[in-house]
């Protein structure tokens, strides 16, 4: 394996690229490790480019643009600066180190400077370990479509379909997109025309919210069927439909690498007491990453794990928290990347076992379902029990070990997360927790519990006008209850809703914008902990 560092450089057309030209014209030599990519503006450099570059084994990424003020496109370079700062943070979390990414200003006249930058960067990288992701290749064996699908038939009861259309009548997407029908997808597969469906967007449109499954008289597990099919469905379609340029998925993939040593615990609140080994493990999920990726939405996502730790400490629990916890793999699982999902699953289970934890608590319903259900399906019963934080807290309340000391006089409406509710049947604990808070009046939306509506996006897929319509509709419903606060037990619901409300909308923002709070944070507030 080569020892020489490889550098991918993104050069803006007007200043930096010209600068590099000048270096050449002036015969100023610099190390050959750099591979330059011309972009019109440094602002064009998407963090995803950088992440992907590293995923593919780059040891360093260099982004160069015009000096502040000189930007040919006014302020592209400033945007780039902000983005790269964030991307750096992600690299740090991943344990790759932010120093592998460098942003420099190089003007047309600064040929020498360009050469110098490259030289120095190459030198620094030579001192560092090579990118641990080097030489990594996907080795998944090609899957047999026929086999996968026919297996899925039996496993998901698809063959019992009565074609009653109850699924389409229940599907939040079908309601806004009358051309989309789970029934018709199923029927095509049953008649052997599945091939026609595979390459279309249909399979990637499903929110996997389980509403159809909940109501299907024939017990067809449509989302699970979709999941199985996605394994063989064309990935290109997925790439197109993937939101946030696929960064989340890329991160998950990166984490499958054993030699990755994350630095993800900076969020610890001071005075937080945790332990290396112990009974209860808190599985944080990807919150530290999302906190960076979705910084603009000022969700303060880290408040969630912080609240959890404080609450647990208050009731005398010192949770185990993994320093190198991997993504649970949920999104890979639901986008058909079984190979990487399995890797993550095995790693996480191994790490958890080491801590001798018997209880694993999650704040994210996706982690919850994945650990509790999908890990078990894959690796058999683990020797630890998986709880959602709401289950643990309501248990503590029942035991009288958790007490509220603040009064929060307000009207609160609660959103059931699909994976917590319909997938796993946890409806009452969150309500119990909220309703118990002094001063709070808990109100319900017309469609609640098993009839609750999905927040509109799942696994970062198909975030389009239809899912936005679903989101707006749901937010309106929440707002119509006259509640002051919308509480979710799933960070992703909040992310997706913040995302949609931060856009220009066809409705009056007044109808949809609401104060939102994560369940754990609300509890912490009610305990005067935040």
């Amino acid at each position: 394996m080569e020892t020489e560092p490889r550098i991918v450089a993104f050069l803006c057309n007007w200043c930096s690229y010209a600068g590099a030209d000048l270096a050449g014209m002036s015969r100023i030599s610099y190390p050959p490790n750099v591979r330059a990519i011309r972009v019109m503006c440094s602002g064009r450099v998407d963090p995803a480019f950088v992440i992907n570059a590293f995923e593919m084994g780059a040891d360093g990424v260099l982004v160069t643009g015009c000096h502040p003020g000189d930007c040919h496109y006014v302020s592209g370079n400033l945007k780039a600066e902000k983005r790269m700062k964030n991307t750096g943070k992600i690299l740090r979390l991943l344990g790759l180190g932010s120093e592998r990414l460098r942003l420099e200003w190089v003007s047309t006249s600064e040929g020498a400077k360009f050469a110098q930058i490259v030289t120095d960067f190459t030198e620094d990288l030579r001192k560092m370990e090579p990118n641990p992701l080097k030489g990594r290749v996907n080795t998944e064996a090609p899957v047999n479509t026929e086999e996968v699908i026919s297996k899925a038939f039996k496993k998901t009861n698809v063959q019992y379909c009565l074609e009653c259309g109850k699924c389409s009548g229940s599907c939040p997407i079908s309601r806004v997109n009358d051309a989309y029908s789970p029934r018709r997808t199923v029927e095509r597969f049953l008649l052997g025309f599945g091939g026609k469906v595979l390459p279309t967007a249909d399979l990637w449109t499903c929110l996997t919210c389980y509403t159809c499954t909940e109501r299907c008289p024939s017990d067809v597990l449509y989302p699970e069927f979709v999941r199985a099919c996605r394994r063989v469905a064309s990935q290109e379609v997925m790439e197109e439909l993937c939101a946030h340029r696929g960064i989340p998925m890329a991160l998950s993939r990166i984490m499958t690498n054993l030699s990755i040593k994350q630095k993800r615990l900076d969020w610890f609140p001071e005075g937080a007491e945790t332990s290396q080994k112990g009974d209860l493990l808190y599985f944080t999920g990807c919150l530290p990453y999302f906190d960076v990726v979705f910084e603009d939405f000022d969700l303060d996502l880290l408040k969630i794990p912080q609240s959890v730790v404080k609450i647990l400490n208050r009731v005398g629990i010192k949770p185990v928290i993994l320093g190198n916890e991997k993504c649970c793999g949920h999104d890979l699982l639901w986008t058909g990347d079984m190979e990487n999902f399995e890797k993550l699953a095995k790693m996480n289970v191994a790490e958890i076992k080491e801590t001798t934890a018997t209880k694993v608590v999650t704040t994210c319903p996706e982690c919850y379902r994945t650990l509790k259900k999908d890990y078990t399906e894959l690796l058999g019963n683990p020797d630890f029990e998986v709880l959602h934080i709401s289950e643990l807290l309501s248990e503590l309340i029942n035991k009288g070990e958790l007490k509220y000391d603040a009064k929060l006089p307000m009207k609160v409406v609660y959103q059931d997360a699909c994976r917590l509710g319909r997938h796993m049947g946890v409806y009452e604990p969150p309500r119990r927790i909220i309703a118990d808070i002094p001063g709070i009046e808990l109100v319900e939306m017309g469609r609640n519990r098993e009839n609750a509506v999905c927040c509109g996006v799942n696994a970062w897929l198909s975030c389009n006008k239809y899912s936005k319509a679903v989101q707006i509709d749901r937010l309106k419903e929440a707002k119509a209850t006259g509640a002051d606060l919308l509480v979710t037990a799933c960070p992703k619901c909040q992310i997706h809703w913040k995302c949609v409300t931060s856009e220009k909308l066809w409705v009056d923002p007044e109808e949809v914008t609401m104060k939102m709070r994560d369940l754990s944070v609300l509890v912490a507030e009610a305990m005067h902990l935040v």
Binding site: E187, R188, L191
Partner: protein
């Protein structure tokens, strides 16, 4: 003493009930009693708190004796519930029960006019007077009785007919089975396995046939045709055509129609008759039975071929969906990699376990395609002798083309050619769908309106084996009733023909829904009293006014009307 010579011997007693406060609280009962006493021929009147209570009843008995009453009136509630009670009481006191009359002064008076006591009392007086007017004309009646020959004729030796026969024979009744075919068994002879239990038809059938042959009480007449059936319940005269031109006669008490049904030959539909790889479900059944079905690569079954049509055969044949499902499953079990399609309209998987059959078929990968009446599938023959089935998938709105080597048509059960003869012979009706029409679709599913004649099995409507058998037992029960009691007795409220007035126009014969009136050898209408239900429609229609309705005579009815109008006969 009941036989009253002149008016003067009429001795009417009136018992007026307070019914707690139900009547007494509105109607002035004591006043009513006084009024009753003023009415012609009323020799006694009294009031009771509850006439229907045991003390009330005993007072009726006492006073019949004490005042030697020959007509009794109770003024209380509705006769529909209480008349039998009071009639019985009269009989206990030795008074013919048809000399009792009831005046409904509760439901029709005190309750309906609770806010108008005076008017209600006036009305109550009229009601009592009307009752008296009728009572004066009441005649004692003897209830008609006839003997019933404890034997039954079963027309048709299929599984329904044989089941009914066995059940009756086991109960000691003589049974004649008349089957026009050479052998017993009917349709079941042609069937392979039966749903829902998937037993071999032949197995079950043979058991039954042996039982029938072994049963001393059953006489089997195969290859025989019915020539004539005369008479009425209890006394039917049956004439059977023997092969050799001779006829045989025997008498039976009841007749059971179990003539079964035919299966439609769909000539000209979907290339049936033209292409030899287009066959009927029945043919497939036989191929499976004889193990002659060669492994097809693909099978397409088309449902509702000649049934549920827009015009003509509009009915659903009930058994086709299940038959198709069953055979599809059997084929799949024999040849797992044979493709089986079922082109259906609405899947008739009703009942407790028929849905399971759909799931069994689905488990085996049978493909279901719904088509609509407006766009039926097409079957086209290709050069290579294979068939193209083009069907519009009604639920995908897509044209689907299936290249197949076997097409199976599910055709309906239809009424037999000769059913009309049976219906004429027995004077029992056929329905719009050609099948025999029962007396009442809901509550008399196996009776004909005509007493003593019953129907079961597919002669009544399409149904599967177990359903036919269910009905066969049902018929056995209905037919056993008159044969078990041996003597039939009915209410005396029947029609009476005055033979001197009757011109034999036959209007009443046509009108009577029960076939209770026949023209006798002299061409005069004669009422079979036990069969007559006493509706009186014949009387009201008789052109010669030759028919009297016992217990509801014109005179009695008019008398009530006049009494209500406070008039004497004009």
């Amino acid at each position: 003493m009941e036989q009253v010579k002149g008016e003067e011997d009429l001795r009417i007693g009136v018992f007026i009930c307070h019914c707690g406060i139900n009547i007494g609280g509105v109607v002035n009962v004591p006043h009513l009693v006084e009024y009753a006493k003023t009415l012609p021929n009323v020799v006694y009147a009294e009031d009771n708190l509850y006439t229907c209570s045991s003390e009330g009843l005993s007072k009726i008995r006492e006073n019949i004796k004490k005042h030697d009453l020959n007509r009794v009136i109770v003024a209380s509630c509705t006769p529909r519930t209480h008349e039998p009670l009071f009639r019985a009481t009269c009989e206990e006191a030795g008074l013919n029960k048809y000399l009792f009359e009831m005046a409904n002064i509760r439901e029709h008076c005190s309750w309906a006019h609770m806010h108008e006591p005076e008017k209600a009392t006036e009305k109550a007086k009229d009601i009592v007077r009307m009752a008296v007017a009728k009572a004066r004309l009441l005649k004692p009646q003897e209830e008609p009785e006839i003997d019933v020959t404890p034997s039954a004729l079963v027309i048709g030796g299929g599984v329904s007919g044989m089941t009914a026969s066995l059940c009756l024979a086991d109960q000691g009744f003589k049974v004649y089975i008349v089957e026009k075919e050479g052998e017993l068994g009917g349709r079941l002879n042609q069937l392979h396995k039966l749903y829902p239990t998937l037993v071999n038809a032949s197995e079950g059938l043979n058991k039954i046939i042996e039982a029938v042959k072994a049963n001393r009480n059953i006489e089997v007449w195969t290859s025989k045709v019915l020539k004539q059936i005369k008479g009425f319940i209890g006394n039917f005269e049956v004439t059977v055509q023997k092969g050799n031109g001779e006829t045989a006669n025997f008498g039976v008490g009841t007749v059971i129609v179990a003539t079964g049904a035919d299966v439609l030959e769909p000539v000209g539909m979907y290339g049936y008759g033209e292409y030899d790889n287009v066959i009927t479900q029945l043919k497939l059944e036989q191929l499976l039975k004889d193990g002659k079905l060669e492994k097809p690569e693909r099978v397409v079954m088309i449902q509702c071929v000649g049934s549920r049509e827009e015009k003509g055969r509009t009915y659903c044949s009930r058994i086709c969906c299940m038959t198709a499902l069953k055979n599809a499953i059997l084929i799949k079990d024999m040849f797992p990699d044979t493709d089986v399609y079922i082109l259906f309209r609405d899947l008739q998987t009703y009942g407790g376990h028929y849905e399971d059959y759909r799931r069994m078929a689905q488990d085996r990968g049978v493909k279901f395609i719904k088509y609509g009446l407006e766009k039926p599938p097409e079957v086209i023959l290709r050069q290579n002798g294979r068939l193209d089935v083009n069907v519009c998938h009604a639920l995908l709105r897509e044209q689907i083309n299936i290249d197949t080597d076997l097409v199976v048509l599910s055709t309906p059960l239809i009424q037999r050619e000769d059913a009309r003869d049976v219906s004429r012979m027995l004077k029992v009706p056929l329905g719009p769908d050609g099948f025999f029409l029962e007396a009442h679709v809901k509550l008399r599913p196996v009776d004909f309106a005509t007493d003593g004649i019953y129907v079961c099995g597919t002669a009544h409507s399409p149904k599967d084996t177990s359903e036919s058998i269910s009905q066969a037992f049902g018929v056995a029960s209905r037919a056993a009733i008159p044969m078990a009691v041996k003597r039939l007795r009915t209410e005396a409220i029947t029609a009476l023909v005055d033979e001197n007035l009757c011109t034999g126009c036959g209007t009443c014969v046509k009108i009577c829904p029960y076939g209770a009136i026949v023209k006798d050898e002299r061409g005069v209408a004669r009422v079979t009293e036990v069969v007559c239900k006493g509706c009186g429609t014949c009387g009201a229609s008789c052109p010669e006014k030759a028919i009297t309705m016992r217990h509801f005579t014109d005179e009695q009815v008019i008398a009530q009307a006049l009494a209500a109008l406070r008039r004497e006969l004009a």
